[in-house]
């Protein structure tokens, strides 16, 4: 029996569905453990967030079911339209129609529901990139198309940065994973990593010393390649050019970015993560050190909660740190703490492994697609999931700066849960038609 003749139910990747359900249920249990008090009379307290999450979960399942019933061709036809609509919604959030929450301006109130267009835009960006790269006219080997493709991710990212929601904006970097898979040259990655290292060096080493260091390195390279230098002057220009770029980047661009692009508290968080004190010139006006203390406090409370779990944890509903609100934002960004505390090293490792299995499964799903569209889309989804996992878990254990992004499927929050559901179920739907070539 060929694949096409198989029943639709058999063509669905049940492992992904199973992991999806498992993670959602773990999430509800975690939120419940945070909010449950031994004095509660009943489980069904509609005021509590875990009940809301259960409703979101129900809605998500419904949406997932609808997606499974749709024709998979529909996903190849909507991307550009969706992207345009999403883009306008994103801009709309910047207008007075948008709603400010905690200093960010990324929410949109449509009267019947409030959501972040930035979250929705993740879905459309994924579909659009997949669609654009599979267009007949697109040749990803050309610089022009690479730039266009990158722009699909970078433009919404810049708008979201304007909305003061840096965490969400950075998620758009994860689309470069899919582009890398589709042939983004290694040199781009090398340059990206070099710039990252240079940025870190700028933070850690005083400017003047860095200047001498870079100059010294350039002279050293020139000395090493003195023989080739006689033959061709190109190397001189190459080394000189790199030196110039490095100097401009470290002496002017990074300080400019830190004073004008990034917010004071974000700079502080980056400095906090690398264990340095924020220089006074980067702390913007009106931002006192309290905010820095707050993010330090969050991380240290989160680490305390996770560490206190020990190997097997304190047991479900026995967490002292998470149950008594010691950890801030523990329903949303710091939900990993509840697992760390209640189920210990054992439980957290299992959770991380579940995510790992999901990620690897999505990669293998991607690789078995006949259609390039599905493959690129699958890589986009895995990239988003990976980025969320790395940053979210990383920040709770002090490996990443505190940028508020949720743990996929587990953190409390309707928009986030629905968007991840849609992302995953579109993937499942596309995978069910993996023998088809979608364009």
């Amino acid at each position: 029996m060929s694949f096409k003749e198989k029943l639709f139910v058999e063509r669905i990747d049940w492992l992904v569905v199973f992991i999806y359900l498992l993670l959602c249920l773990i999430g509800i249990a975690c939120i419940f453990s945070v909010e449950h008090r031994s004095t509660d009379i009943t489980f069904f307290l509609m005021k509590q967030n875990y009940m809301k999450q259960i409703i979101f979960f129900g809605v998500s399942l419904l949406i997932g079911l609808i997606i499974l019933m749709l024709d998979s061709k529909i996903f190849t036809s909507i991307p550009f339209l969706g992207y345009t609509i999403g883009f306008f919604l994103l801009l709309l959030a910047l207008t007075p129609l948008g709603k400010g929450v905690k200093g960010s301006h990324s929410w949109l109130n449509l009267g019947f529901l409030t959501f972040q267009p930035g979250e929705l835009m993740k879905l459309f960006t994924a579909l659009t990139i997949a669609k654009f790269l599979t267009l007949q006219d697109t040749n990803f080997a050309t610089l022009k198309h690479r730039v266009i493709c990158a722009a699909f991710a970078i433009v919404p990212m810049l708008i979201i940065i304007l909305q003061n929601e840096t965490g969400l904006a950075l998620v758009y970097l994860s689309f470069f994973l899919a582009m890398y898979r589709e042939g983004l040259p290694n040199i781009v990655i090398v340059i990206g990593v070099s710039l990252l290292i240079l940025t870190l060096a700028t933070l850690l080493i005083p400017k003047t010393i860095l200047l001498y260091l870079l100059s010294g390195l350039a002279v050293f390279f020139l000395y090493l390649s003195r023989r080739q230098l006689r033959r061709s002057r190109e190397i001189l220009f190459l080394v000189g050019g790199i030196w110039l770029v490095g100097v401009i980047f470290s002496q002017a661009l990074v300080p400019f970015a830190f004073t004008h692009v990034l917010k004071g508290y974000q700079v502080q968080r980056i400095y906090t993560m690398i264990g340095q004190e924020t220089p006074a010139e980067y702390i913007g006006e009106g931002i006192d050190t309290k905010k820095q203390n707050a993010s330090e406090y969050n991380v240290s409370q989160s680490k305390i909660a996770i560490a206190s779990g020990g190997f097997f944890g304190k047991g479900f509903l026995n967490g002292t740190q998470t149950q008594y609100n010691w950890v801030p934002e523990q329903r949303t960004d710091f939900i990993f703490c509840t697992i760390g505390e209640q189920f210990g090293f054992f439980g957290s490792t299992i959770l991380v492994l579940i995510y790992m299995v999901l990620l690897l499964r999505i990669v293998s799903i991607a690789e078995r697609q006949r259609s390039q569209f599905s493959r690129i889309y699958a890589y986009c989804v895995s990239g988003i999931l990976f980025f969320h996992l790395a940053i979210n878990v990383g920040m709770t254990i002090g490996l990443a700066p505190v940028i508020g992004i949720p743990l996929p499927l587990i953190s409390y929050g309707g928009t986030s849960l629905v968007i991840f559901t849609v992302l995953i179920f579109i993937l499942i739907r596309l995978d069910a038609d993996r023998q088809m070539v979608l364009r």
Partner: protein, 679 residues
């Protein structure tokens, strides 16, 4: 389209495996190896270790009347660090009924005193209504807590100097060995029995492990209370003290400087122990304790000075029975020995005056004691130390010193409240130093009549009466009869030992006691006579001299009275000393006599009620007490200044100026005393 980049999926897979592994390794260090000691931090944050203070032991009198028990009071404790900007100070002040300025002032004070971190008591002993109001709204305030602790309650309104008081342990006390296992905020007994029996009274504190949330609200027991330990209350003490007698004695001692001590000779148990001027012990509790204490400490009449064990007086004539006892035991006199006193003792050149000059007032021992003949006892004392048995007077004096030591004199006797003074009994070393090794019995003849270098505390006087009453033994005077109904508690062991005195013959005691009976029957102490009880007593009028700026100034005599009763089977021994009150029989005598009557008869007869009223109402505090006190304080300041002297010329000038003013003051003081009191 050809796929040239398929191998990149492998790199992506590697990254997807590497990152979770990195997270897992980090978790391993964090959770299993506990790098950074975060577990401890968790215990310190969410688990709140609460010390549960046990009630201190209750103190009963001999008839099981409660002298002291506990009541629960609440302190408002603040942790300045945790006070947030939205702290509603006005509301809090309204709740506890305190002006907002007061609150701010107190808060600043504790911050300066204890810093930002430490929780410290802002207001102590809140009224019950404030506590009730605050408890309902406590969750509104972060950094504020109500800490309950037991306050001592002086149930009978007497015995402040005996019972002592409790206070929070101080930083310096925490450093001492005795309070090594105490923590800041613990209460300790400061004086009296509270201090001496601290170990049994305090009980064992319990520990509660509680869970609290980020706003410091208690959320329940940690691990269902499995780690908790309950507090063991302090053990109760039963005293020998007779609460009614004590109350009466304190009333009698009101507005007088001095003390009155009554001991049960058979056990050494102290029946009454009053120090004048007596004060209301409730001053030692409550919110104003500190202010009251400092006020009393600065008072010229020194109410906190436990005169019964801390003040040293020359015993005066009350010493004469002991002199007689020594002489009889040494065999230098017989009971029939007489001395031809003609109103003075001239044998040593200088006249020692005697109040009596009539012929035959010292024709035998009993008469000499009854009439309190100074000449007789100076002579007898000289006989005793110049006894032919001894090579020289040095050995004779040493022998006398041994007697006195065995009577419990010259050293702290060992009462079970702290800060006891030992009095003074001079030995040959002292005279060697004073007279350059060149002295004889004439130099110290007045020791025999209780003047000169000999000094005793009222407690020692009462104890010497116990020795006479028991005919040769005593128990160390003490307050506590039993601890937790156990009379053989290790702490009480030393008070169960019978101290036998110098093995003096019973007959010697009988002769002296006969003389003391004569004192009451026909001698100086007739005021103490009781119709159906044979009282043995001795009056005393101790000369009171004071050095003022290097010159001896004679002040009003101290009035002394010692007694025991009944003669057969003695039940009470009393020593009363009233400073600056003149003759022993006028003031000390009646008080001692009333105490004996109250104890033996359980009430004071109608006939003598006038005496009670007279004694209670009398105020015997001479005005020069205040002058002398300010002089003393000035001297102390002077000494302090000299001690901390520096090269600083400004300070030196100050010292010179101060010493000049001191000289002026003391001259004025002497002038005033001469002029108005004719001494």
């Amino acid at each position: 389209m050809a796929d040239f980049t398929q191998n990149r999926s492998v790199f992506i897979k590697i990254v997807f495996i590497a990152l979770p592994l990195l997270i897992i390794i980090r978790l391993l260090f964090l959770q299993v190896f506990d790098i950074g000691n975060y577990k401890e931090a968790a215990l310190g944050q969410a688990v709140y270790i609460k010390k549960v203070y046990p009630p201190r032991g209750i103190i009963y009198d001999r008839k099981n009347k409660v002298l002291m028990n506990n009541s629960i009071v609440y302190d408002l404790v603040v942790e300045p660090k945790k006070i947030t900007s939205d702290f509603d100070t006005l509301f809090l002040c309204k709740l506890i009924n305190v002006p907002i300025e007061d609150f701010r002032f107190q808060l600043k004070k504790v911050i300066i005193k204890n810093g930002w971190q430490k929780p410290s008591a802002l207001f102590k002993n809140l009224s019950p209504i404030s506590v009730a109001r605050l408890q309902e709204n406590l969750y509104d305030f972060s950094g504020i807590d109500l800490i309950e602790h037991a306050e001592r309650n002086y149930h009978f309104g007497c015995g402040g100097t005996i019972l002592g008081y409790i206070n929070e342990v101080s930083e310096t006390q925490l450093k001492s060995d005795r309070y090594a296992d105490y923590q800041k905020g613990d209460y300790i007994g400061i004086n009296g029995l509270e201090n001496y029996y601290e170990d049994v009274l305090k009980g064992v504190p319990g520990v509660q492990y509680l869970l609290r949330d980020v706003k410091q609200r208690i959320q329940g027991a940690y691990k269902d209370g499995r780690l908790d330990s309950s507090a063991t209350p302090g053990k109760p003490l039963q005293l020998y003290l007779d609460a009614d007698l004590q109350k009466l004695t304190e009333e009698l001692m009101a507005n007088k400087l001095g003390s009155a001590v009554a001991i049960d000779p058979k056990t050494g148990g102290i029946l009454a122990f009053a120090n004048g001027p007596s004060f209301d012990p409730t001053l030692l509790t409550g919110a104003n304790k500190g202010a009251n204490l400092s006020k009393m400490l600065n008072d010229a009449t020194k109410p906190l000075f436990i005169r019964a064990i801390q003040a040293k007086y020359p015993p005066g004539s009350t010493f004469k029975p002991l002199t007689a006892l020594v002489a009889l035991d040494e065999g230098v006199i017989t009971p029939d020995y007489g001395y031809p006193c003609m109103g003075g003792y001239y044998a040593c050149g200088r006249r020692v005056a005697c109040t009596h000059s009539g012929h035959g007032h010292a024709s035998n021992l009993a008469l000499a004691i009854a009439n309190s003949c100074n000449a007789y006892f100076c002579h007898v004392f000289r006989l005793a130390i110049d006894s032919r048995k001894y090579e020289n007077v040095h050995i004779g004096l040493e022998r006398w010193h041994d007697y006195m030591t065995s009577f419990g004199l010259g050293h702290p006797i060992g009462v079970d409240i702290p800060h006891e003074n030992g009095g003074n009994i001079p030995d040959s070393n002292y005279f060697n130093r004073t007279y350059n090794d060149n002295w004889n019995s004439c130099n110290m003849a007045i020791l025999g009549m209780g003047q000169g270098e000999v000094e005793m505390t009222p407690m020692q006087m009462a104890n010497s009466m116990c020795i006479l009453a028991n005919k040769g033994y005593y128990y160390i005077p003490h307050f506590v009869k039993s601890i937790d109904a156990d009379p053989n508690h290790p702490l009480l062991k030393k008070y169960k030992e019978k101290k036998v005195v110098a093995h003096i013959a019973d007959s010697s005691f009988e002769y002296v006691i006969a003389g003391m009976q004569a004192v009451v029957d026909q001698g100086t102490g007739m005021i103490a006579k009781m119709p159906d009880v044979v009282v043995c007593a001795k009056t005393g009028t101790a000369q009171n001299e004071r050095m003022i700026n290097g010159q001896k100034v004679k002040l009003q005599n101290h009035s002394m009275f010692v007694a025991f009763a009944p003669r057969r089977d003695p039940k009470i021994a009393v020593a009363v000393c009233i400073e600056n009150a003149g003759y022993g029989a006028t003031w000390a005598g009646p008080i001692a006599s009333l105490m004996i009557e109250r104890y033996l008869k359980d009430s004071i007869s109608e006939k003598r009620q006038y005496l009670v009223k007279k004694m209670k109402d009398a105020k015997i505090i001479p005005n020069y007490t205040y002058i002398l006190d300010s002089l003393d304080k000035q001297m102390a300041r002077q000494k302090d200044l000299l001690k901390n002297r520096s090269k600083d010329s400004l300070k030196r000038d100050l010292i010179i100026k101060d010493s000049l003013s001191r000289r002026h003051d003391s001259l004025t003081a002497r002038y005033l005393i001469r002029k108005f009191y004719h001494y």
